[in-house]
Symmetry: C2
Subunit: 350 residues, 2 copies
């Protein structure tokens, strides 16, 4: 049997190309000899492209990306404070634009403390949960504006837009996931302050919960959730939350499970209408770019999520296992990006 | 010399009355024999009052509270899920209403890891920073609404309102504080996503920074800030941030410095137009109410902030020192609320 998938590869800026190179090695090796092929198209996008051409994401880029089965992204973003990027906002114009245009309404971010991973907590316990972050609504919609900009009378508003349509679909996804994991679901919001958006989230979770009597459901305010992430992270299994709270919680979750160098993510369109996009949670870290200092593990674990999404579950599991074995063997010695990639590759082939 | 201050005391709900009782003991003892007197008015406010009378905060309550020099608040909020409180929202109608009506634009939340305090971090280092949280703007303004509520076509918006006036005054306060502490200031926001509000915060910080050449200034996205709070909390000295980010960061900061049972706060109107309000960061914890299980330390440290605010710096310092001594002597044995209060009282008198 032979199957071919088309893959859009966006290495991006900073450490992006370095970690993506390792991720591609692993992707190729995980499928080698199986008759599964990835036909890759490489896209030059990010701060580098903007500085070269003035483009962030053209209609042609977008149309071409849409024609692929999946996307692998490294990281995008230039050197902070670079005056040439002052008005660029690569994050909004490229990364968020992809998430919104490709209707990535599930931003899937697993957090697992692998045996051997160094974490900041004295007594972490077992950590193994997934954050299902809404990806297309909330405070991220870009519905803001200013009046009297630059004066003493400036007013800047930012509007969080939330729809029953948008919340219900991500909540359904989260419940299905919680059901598969045989466990519980925690809604995180700030219902006591953001009463309209929070109230709708709560009502929809309550309604969908009636269809999943096996899933235990609870609720935490976002501030309380950050406390539990450091005092009792084992209490979490599936967290469903809005775009901004999910952004905050998953960076914190990455930190408590051994660092953002291990945190993978999938920007998923579960309906399959558009290709899903897999990327490490970390940024482009221009300060260490090109020095082989970045940990490619998060990018490699993103490949595992990508394989899973495409139905290649065995391949996904082999990648995760190779990573787990590598993490378990780590002793704190710094290794170059490609050395880590090669070590995981070797375990994958073993 | 004799001086009298009027103090509005709002014990509130749940563990509020228990911790306030200890805080009052300490307040009285700290000023005993000094000629300083606190004339207290007790206000019955919170879920309990709402259930009795249907009132959350009447105009009369508010006018009477305004006539005091300062406010000491325990905690407000009923049992989560109590059907009789379904439409009450004590948080918005009472706590946030007080902060907004009394123009508490500085929400001051110090975070210090006292020697002996138990924290979740394996290697916390020295932690001693202050979060200056904006208290009267941002996503907390209550400018939200829904259409088609309860239908599949519901849309709920929440608008964060931010003004140059509101940001500049809190930023100035934070810079003055950073200058007094001889150190640095970190702006926390999400400028890459909330470009209008975040852009204004950044511009105002940049502008005020030119008047404080001694203060080192940096910036972190809120997600990155949560990482540093668990991996390198020593990097922080003064954090200035918006209302919602400040809410999240201070709960997390409380957790990393030994728990929310130690976290004090002041809701301050620096202009003196209205009385400032001092309260522990924790909530009313109805599940442990009336059992003498709550730690009154956060309430007692809030008394220290209150004394400081009224210019009683020596008294404030004596309270803090008594608390520090008590924390240092803790060995993990559970003590009743009043036992902790008495132990601190004894040290204060020593
Ligand atoms: C770069 C930024 C826009 C992005 C976000 O806020 O979603 C990042 O922090 C992330 O979590 O993927
Ligand atoms: C109770 C709630 C409205 C409040 C807030 O969000 O400000 C609390 O969390 C706090 O931090 O004082």
């Amino acid at each position: 049997m032979s199957r071919a998938f088309t893959l859009a590869v966006i290495p991006g800026d900073g450490i992006g190309p370095e970690v993506v190179a390792e991720a591609e090695k692993i992707l190729d090796a995980a499928t080698a000899g199986s008759g599964i092929r990835f036909e890759k198209t490489r896209f030059s996008l990010g701060a580098g492209r903007f500085l070269d051409t003035g483009d962030t994401l053209t209609d042609d880029d977008l149309a071409s990306i849409k024609a692929h089965d999946a996307i692998l992204l490294g990281a995008v973003g230039g050197v902070p404070g670079d005056p040439r990027l002052k008005d660029a906002n690569i994050e909004r114009g490229l990364l968020l634009k992809l998430r919104f245009e490709l209707d990535h309404y599930v931003n899937l971010r697993p957090s697992k403390l692998y045996p051997g991973a160094p974490g900041p907590l004295a007594d972490p316990g077992e950590i193994d949960f997934v954050v299902v972050r809404e990806g297309t609504e909330g405070p991220y919609v870009g519905n803001g504006g200013s009046i009297r900009k630059g004066t003493a009378h400036e007013v800047a508003n930012e509007t969080s837009v939330n729809t029953a349509y948008g919340i219900e679909r991500v909540v359904r996804y989260a419940f299905a996931l919680a059901e598969r994991r045989g466990s519980k679901l925690t809604l995180v919001h700030k219902t006591n302050v953001l009463v309209h958006a929070g109230g709708m989230w709560q009502r929809i979770v309550d309604a969908v919960a009636t269809e999943h009597p096996d899933v235990a459901v609870d609720y935490l305010h976002v501030d309380a959730a950050t406390i539990f992430l450091v005092t009792n992270p084992s209490r979490f299994d599936v967290i469903v939350t809005d775009n901004l709270f999910g952004d905050i919680l998953t960076d914190l979750a990455g930190a408590v499970t051994g660092g953002i160098g291990l945190a993978a993510s999938g920007n998923i369109n579960p309906d399959g209408a558009f290709p899903s996009m897999f990327e490490p949670v970390h940024g482009s870290a221009p300060d260490i770019a090109g020095q082989q200092k970045a940990d490619p593990t998060a990018a490699i674990l993103s490949v595992s999520l990508l394989l899973d999404h495409l139905g290649l579950h065995d391949e996904a599991q082999r990648v995760t296992r190779a990573v787990e074995d590598d993490i378990e063997a780590r002793d704190g010695t710094a290794r170059e990006t490609s050395v880590i990639g090669d070590a995981i590759l070797e375990r994958l082939r073993a």
